[in-house]
Symmetry: C2
Subunit: 111 residues, 2 copies
DNA sequence: TTGCCTTTTAACCGATTAGTTGAAAGGACG
DNA sequence: CGTCCTTTCAACTAATCGGTTAAAAGGCAA
């Protein structure tokens, strides 16, 4: 339960139900009731999932008239993507460098 | 603790210590002792973190002679990246479509 | 106001997590 | 062989998680 933002986003998406919610919200905003429909769990459990997503900044629920729409915030996904991509790329470049070194050693074997 | 692969990868990276390990491993392979050095925790705790990363497929540790090198496996990051990118893009396209609709309504107001 | 639907809060449960300490294997090497 | 370093296993704790039920607010409209 580390409280930094990135940890909260990863933790929020570590649950299949919440990932499914995000997937569905990527197509259209929805109310809590609409989101709850496919799941075999209480409505309160769904609200708990929504709170986790909201506190991670993955989702927002503009206050206002009663059935509050749940809206996907892609900014949080972006920041997570940035993190992953940074280290993925760093490792990838390292492997490519290694490949070039191996290729060079292959062309000019050690004496 | 849902057991599907994607959940395990997200959960593995939801911990700041494990993310830091991944960040460092993106630069170079390391032994458990090297990884443990900056952290104020027991060596056994570090091995536990390594096991979580390994079972998520984020890291591999080729068996063999004793100080086993820990190696970052970018495949797991790739799969996570794919998931995020899929829904991020879907939401993004939806917003762009909405923008176009709004722009069209602006040019030709309702009669 | 009354009533219905939505949302939140609270208390509880069983399982899991991140850490600890202690002990036991495994492997490299003089 | 013995010794030292690395790795794993086991048991324990405090905290968190995903779910439940029950109860209380909030908001909308007849």
């Amino acid at each position: 339960m580390p409280s930094d933002t990135l940890s909260r986003v990863f933790a929020a998406l570590a649950d299949p139900t919440r990932r499914d919610m995000v997937a569905r919200l990527s197509a259209a905003d929805a109310t809590a009731n609409q989101l709850a429909e496919p799941y075999a769990m209480s409505l309160q459990a769904v609200y708990k999932h929504l709170r986790v997503l909201e506190e991670a900044g993955v989702v927002s629920r503009p206050p206002g008239r009663q059935p509050r729409a749940v809206h996907l915030e892609i900014g949080a996904l972006d920041r997570m993507d940035d993190w992953i991509e940074r280290y993925r790329r760093r490792a990838e470049e390292r492997y490519e460098r290694l490949d070039r070194v191996l290729a060079a050693m292959d062309e000019e074997p050690p004496r």
